[in-house]
């Protein structure tokens, strides 16, 4: 198993190195779909609930537990499907070596992060999952794509910074605990900086999962770049943020305040994403908002778990994430087939799968929502989750309408439909087969009538609302992708530019000879003065 872990992380990196050789380049590009295979094997071995840990020489530690394995498996599956799609799509295309390089790097990090067991590995793999995304987003694009890439990477870098601060604070205030995540997080509640660390963790990983109001980059990013890349970025790499929250929130410990805040933030995100998604006209942006909404719900569940001290929240969220990985990835892949006509049955299939986000009975998503119920049963919370489900339904219908109405893409990307169909079809049976292992309850419990009703009414209400809106011809205002987040980003870009210019001007001044020498004299006087005033006697 230890070799499987090594292979999982190193195989993509090794393949990336092989890209250096022009002769092997086409071979590697053709084999993109094979790179995640070790991960699939690994996940299959561990999704039953066993926990295994491996420590390498040094402080390198890898842990394979149930939440990690669930997401690992789903992501590996998506990477494989998207990898084959990418191989065919890349065939004969210029710059495919480059694309494959960024792809493989992101792949390695995106899968490795689920098994990282010490803070250093986690940080490294998390960065690997986030930073190379730039190359995927900006691939072959114009200025808009490059800007989207820049914004994505800026968000990633800021997130990295916050996470690093959190990790170091964790380490500093748990002396003698080493670098393994589990003992460090166990010591977290007693740390004097517990609040700071949790805040850093939530904001840092919240940036990754687009928790409102940190979501601005997500619609921009998902609207740019090749769809095959967007599929894995939205489906797989965004889950790195989720696993981060699962790993670094002390879920076993009841922290009502922190949990409550996260719950609230997640729910706001869920509703906000659903609502704002309706103002979008680009299906890709709609899917991005759907991601914001869905990931918000998952964060909310984690918050509820933290508030209640429920350790199982991690597994539950991971279980639902499996569905989100495959369906969201699949839907993006579907958009990539738009050069051809999308048959009605295909649209139906997509709709069925996507409504799983709202909890449509018999979908895998419904099982996920069902698993949430343990933690979100209380009145208000439950209502809000149902409201989010209504919103999701409306949003999915909006998406389907947009897809149906969409004109032929001027730059068709022409992915094979087989890819998205495979991803979408795989999701539901996978959820059904895993349900028992995750919740301990029989999957048949999901078929009881009261349960079905519970799940169905928000969907029905959403469908009715969607139909009503469409029938009334209500025209929602159209907002740019990223709404206030995009505004915020634009403002930040401007301010950052202004600040940088000011700094550069100051630097230009400072490196003039007279200024520099004068500063040197001043520093000398100041230094000696400080020494004399504060110095030892």
């Amino acid at each position: 198993m230890i070799f499987a872990i090594m292979a999982m992380i190193l195989l993509p990196l090794a393949m990336a190195l092989l890209l250096l050789s022009p002769a092997l380049r086409p071979v590697v590009v053709r084999g993109l779909g094979l790179a995640p295979l070790p991960a699939l094997l690994l996940a299959a071995a561990a999704c039953g609930g066993s926990v295994s840990a491996f420590t390498f020489p040094g402080a390198w530690r890898y842990v394979l537990d149930q939440p990690g394995a669930l997401m690992l498996g789903a992501c590996a599956l998506l990477w494989i499907i998207a990898g084959f799609a990418a191989s065919t799509w890349l065939a004969g295309r210029g710059g495919r070596g480059r694309f494959a390089l960024w792809w493989l790097l992101t792949l390695s990090g995106s899968l490795g992060v689920f098994v990282a067991g010490d803070v250093v590995s986690f940080y490294a793999l998390y960065a690997l999952a986030s930073l190379p995304a730039y190359g995927l987003i900006a691939f072959d694009g114009g200025e808009a794509e490059r800007r989207a890439g820049r914004v994505t990477i800026a968000a990633a870098l800021i997130g990295e910074g916050l996470i690093l601060a959190a990790l170091v604070l964790l380490v500093v205030h748990a002396p003698g605990q080493g670098l393994a995540i589990t003992p460090l997080v166990a010591a977290l509640p007693s740390s004097p900086y517990c609040g700071v660390i949790v805040a850093l963790v939530v904001i840092g990983f919240g940036l990754k999962i687009g928790l409102a109001p940190l979501h601005g980059w997500m619609p921009m990013s998902y609207a740019a770049g090749p769809l095959v890349a967007t599929a894995v970025l939205s489906g797989a790499t965004s889950k790195a943020g989720l696993i981060g929250l699962i790993r670094f929130l002390p879920l076993g410990e009841a922290m009502p305040v922190a949990g409550g805040i996260i719950l609230a933030a997640g729910l706001i995100s869920a509703l906000y994403g659903a609502l704002l998604g309706l103002t979008q006209t680009n299906p890709r942006s709609v899917l991005a908002y759907s991601s914001i909404s869905q990931l918000g719900q998952m964060a909310a569940v984690l918050g509820a778990g933290l508030a209640a001290g429920a350790r199982e929240a991690g597994v539950i969220v991971a279980f639902y994430a499996v569905y989100h990985v495959l369906i969201k990835g699949g839907l993006f892949l579907m958009l990539g087939t738009q050069g051809r006509r999308i048959a009605a049955w295909q649209l139906g299939l997509a709709g069925f799968a996507a409504l799983g986000f709202a909890g449509l009975p018999f979908t895998g998503g419904a099982l996920g929502k069902l698993a949430f119920k343990d933690l979100t049963a209380s009145g208000a919370t439950s209502m809000l989750f149902s409201l989010a489900a209504v919103g999701s339904t409306v949003l999915v219908l909006h998406f389907l309408r947009l897809v149906r109405a969409a004109a032929q893409d001027p730059k068709p990307q022409l992915l094979s439909p087989a890819a998205w169909i495979a991803a979408v079809i795989a999701a539901t049976p996978l959820q059904w087969s895993l349900f028992a292992a995750v919740t301990g309850a029989s999957a048949n419990s999901a078929l009881r009538p009261e349960v079905l009703f519970d799940l169905a009414w928000p969907v029905a209400a959403g469908a009715a609302l969607g139909w009503a809106l469409a029938a009334a011809g209500t025209q929602l205002p159209q907002l740019p992708p990223g709404d206030i987040g995009a505004r915020l980003i634009a403002a930040l870009e401007r301010q950052a530019g202004r600040l940088a210019s000011a700094v550069v001007r100051a630097e230009t001044q400072a490196h003039q000879w007279p200024v520099s020498t004068l500063t040197l004299a001043a520093a000398l006087i100041l230094f000696v003065a400080l020494q004399t005033v504060f110095g030892p006697r």
Partner: protein
């Protein structure tokens, strides 16, 4: 007023003067001159310390004196390189100036 104190004060004054010249004089040759002045001031102070250490029948502590001699040679080496640089710069650019007209070459 002993020569020790007197030359110490002179040396301090020379250092101050040369620091001023080094900051404000625009031409590199003037800066170089100020640097040499600065060096001589520092050496002079070292000489004062040597003179302070006069003992055992010697008029001054020979160690600082020897160090000053080495220092003078090192300072001269710097001057030689600087003058060569300055003259080459003068012939390349038509003028020896170390101020950049605009930041960052195009």
């Amino acid at each position: 007023m002993s020569p020790v104190l007197l030359f110490w004060l002179a040396g301090s004054g020379l250092i101050g003067l040369s620091v001023y010249g080094l900051i404000v004089n625009p031409h590199p040759l003037c800066k170089l001159l100020a640097l040499n002045l600065l060096g001589s001031g520092v050496f002079l102070l070292f000489g004062v310390i040597a003179r302070r250490g006069a003992s055992a029948g010697l008029g001054g502590d020979p160690v600082p004196q020897a160090l000053v001699i080495t220092g003078i040679v090192v300072a001269f080496s710097a001057t030689a390189i600087a003058v060569a640089l300055l003259l080459r710069l003068h012939s390349e650019a038509g003028e020896a100036s170390i101020d950049e007209e605009e930041d960052g070459q195009p």
